[in-house]
């Protein structure tokens, strides 16, 4: 069984060095006898007049969210990998990469969908549009974390 304790979320200031990250993952894990490495690369789109996106991250809870996913993946002999940007990321560059490695493709293909969707809904990351050099909270695209409203 893979030692998963050393696999952490990789955070970068600004846009992600995509080739460096995905090549490193491939080199690290292709020798672990995973038959499937499925990578999702998120790219910032030019829409609604934005120059890019900006991100705040709360690392302690992101780490615990990721570690819980790692345990869940490991039950299916898979591992999850993730990199994300902090701060500003301009259009047509990457802010988010997720990957699943598993012995067989079906587990990885299904898990990448669930992993990315749960990330979107639960990971403690806040997105802002960059418009004319100002950050505007992307409230209409944001999702309340499960259990929200406890103090209301």
């Amino acid at each position: 069984m893979m030692d998963i304790s050393n696999i952490k979320v990789e955070l970068f200031d600004g846009d992600l060095p995509v080739e460096q990250i995905t090549n490193a993952w491939y080199d690290q894990f292709r020798l672990s006898n995973y038959g499937a490495i499925v990578t999702f690369v998120g790219v910032v789109r030019d829409e609604d007049g934005i120059d890019g996106l900006s991100f705040d991250i709360y690392e302690p809870i992101l780490s615990s969210w990721f570690d819980a996913w790692q345990k869940k993946a490991n039950e299916k002999n898979a591992i999850v990998l993730m990199a994300h940007s902090k701060g500003d990321v301009l259009n047509h560059t990457s802010s988010y990469i997720a990957a699943v490695c598993s012995p067989k493709r079906r587990v990885a293909l299904e898990m990448i969908d669930e992993f990315v969707e749960d990330f979107k809904a639960q990971a403690p990351i806040w997105k802002y549009d960059i418009i004319d050099g100002q950050r505007e909270y992307a409230e209409d695209r944001s999702t309340a974390i499960t259990g929200a409203g406890l103090l209301n």
């Binding site: 998120g42 991100f55 705040d56 709360y58 302690p60 809870i61 615990s64 994300h84 802010s95 988010y96 990315v116 990330f119 979107k120 809904a121 639960q122 990971a123 403690p124 990351i125 806040w126 997105k127 802002y128 909270y137 992307a138 409230e139 695209r141 944001s142 999702t143 309340a144 974390i145 499960t146 259990g147 929200a148 409203g149 406890l150 103090l151 209301n152």
Partner: protein, 73 residues
């Protein structure tokens, strides 16, 4: 004292309050105009663990975090 931190777009400085539980915190924050509107959509963590019940005792040195709606990626 318990430290209250407001994450992401809430954009408010930390508070230090003398409370024993989350119900007391709720009453305090409902009177803070710049926070009150965030309460219904914010999740709550105590010492960096998300909680789903107000029935939690708080002690001196604890940290409570408010997490507004998220959107990574």
């Amino acid at each position: 004292m318990v430290t209250i931190e407001f994450l992401g777009p809430i954009g408010k400085e930390n508070m230090s309050v003398d409370i024993n539980n989350l119900s007391q915190l709720s009453e305090i924050l409902k009177d803070e105009a710049d926070v009150a509107t965030w309460l219904e959509k914010s999740a709550v963590a105590v010492n960096d663990t998300l909680v789903s019940s107000k029935d939690i005792d708080l002690k001196d040195g604890d940290k409570v975090s408010l997490l507004p709606p998220v959107c990574g990626g």
